[in-house]
Amino acid sequence: MNINLTLIGQSIVFLFFIWFCWKFVWPPLLGVMREREQKIANGLADAEHAQKDLKLAKRKAAEQLKEAKDQAGEIIDGANKRANQIVDEAKQAALAEGERLKVAAKAEIDQEVNRAKEQLRSRVAALSVLGAEKILAVNIDARAQDDLIDKLAAEL
């Protein structure tokens, strides 16, 4: 318990350790810690930023989706309308064509009928002349009698 040189020795040792800690322990340790703090702070800030971005992107995506849906709806409506229109037009065209065909056919039929009538008429005239020849037993000059025959035929 005597006070002696140890006192001075201890002081010197103590100052040496403080100096050592000051030069070689504290700066690198604190440097690393501060750097990590900075890194964590940056990371958190980045995360927050990214979250904000994500939210924005989500909202934008939703908007775009909605827009796209609307557009698609419009397009489908337009297409439907157009389809109906085309069907209607086709129907109209078909009806008209049918009508036209019907008319043409009728005309042809009429023509045929007329032609058949004509033929029939000439045949009947010939038959009549022949019958009259036979009845008269004379050969009537067909040519001379043409007027008569034509009259007959016209009466048929």
Partner: protein, 308 residues
């Protein structure tokens, strides 16, 4: 534990004696009766010899343990600092960072001035004093007995707790005191420091009164200044010395029969558990007070005139 030949008093005294290396004057009669022909540097063989060596003696055990523990601190922390990585701190690095962060925060709170040395000083004090105090938890006979066995000298003095030696604690307090004076003068100039010692706390503003007040002020300020390191050193010493003393007394009880052995075991355990608190607290107090003293040394009175 006390040997059969030893009395309790001798045991205690033996435990409280440092291993002393010092100078004996010429014509000194040593413990074994021999007379030193001329002044020599030698190991003290008795407490009386150690005392008679006066100031020119070293406590080898105190210095050895404190230097050894300090080197352990320096080595471990410097290695951790060197290996420290920003990413993924591993076990010991985390621990070192925890301590460092704790000290850094505390110093920031108590020391508002700019000085990069104070925080490392606080770290050194805290860890080093803690390690030295920690030696108190090693059962009091283990290391001295081991040292006696190794050296072959049964009466070897060997104190393992440096902080139970007033030289160690006062030495550290002295270093803190020196730093205080140094920073005071650096921050305020020699004149500022002298003014602080002589013109406070009593200050009238009239120079002829102030001159009359100088002796009173100086007496008050000098006492309060010198009381700082002394109280700082003695507080640590007193706490640890008392703790060590109680461990020694408990160790004595181990020899008193089976009941004594069990009782001493329980007492030792209880005191050790309590002492864990004491050693940490004392290391902490020493550190905080040193930091506060540094803050005082940096503190300028003219900045806060009305503080006083």
């Amino acid at each position: 534990m006390a040997g059969e030949a030893q009395t309790a008093t001798a045991y205690i005294q033996h435990h409280l004696q440092n291993m002393t290396y010092g100078k004996l004057p010429a014509g000194y009669t040593r413990a074994d009766g021999t007379v030193v022909s001329e002044s020599t540097w030698t190991m003290a063989h008795s407490s009386q010899e150690a005392a008679d060596m006066g100031f020119w003696a070293l406590h080898v055990d105190t210095l050895g343990w404190s230097v050894g523990l300090g080197l352990i601190f320096c080595f471990l922390f410097a290695r951790a600092a060197k290996k420290a990585r920003v990413d993924k701190p591993t076990g010991f690095q985390s621990f070192v960072e925890l301590v460092t962060e704790f000290i850094d925060k505390l110093v920031r709170e108590t020391f508002p001035h700019r000085n990069t040395m104070v925080a490392p000083m606080a770290l050194t004090i805290f860890v080093w004093v803690f390690l030295m105090n920690l030696m108190d938890l090693v059962p009091v006979d283990w290391l001295p007995q081991l040292a006696a066995k190794v050296s072959g000298n049964e009466h070897l003095f060997f104190k393992v707790v440096p902080t139970t030696d007033p030289n160690a604690t006062l030495g550290m307090a002295l270093a803190v005191f020196a730093l205080m004076i140094f920073f005071s003068i650096r921050e305020k100039g020699a004149l500022g420091f002298i003014k602080e010692l002589t013109l406070h706390p009593f200050h009238t503003g009239k120079w002829f009164f102030d001159i009359l007040l100088i002796p009173v002020n100086f007496l008050l300020e000098a006492v309060s200044l010198i009381a700082k390191p002394i109280s700082l050193g003695l507080r640590l010493f007193g706490n640890l010395y008392a703790g060590e003393m109680i461990f020694i007394l408990i160790a004595l009880v181990f020899g008193v029969g089976v009941l004594g052995f069990i009782g001493a075991g329980l007492m030792h355990m209880g005191w050790a558990i309590f002492h864990v608190l004491v050693i940490t607290l004392q290391a902490f107090v020493f550190m905080v007070l040193s930091t506060v003293y540094m803050a005082m040394a940096h503190h300028r009175d003219d900045e806060h005139e009305h503080d006083q």
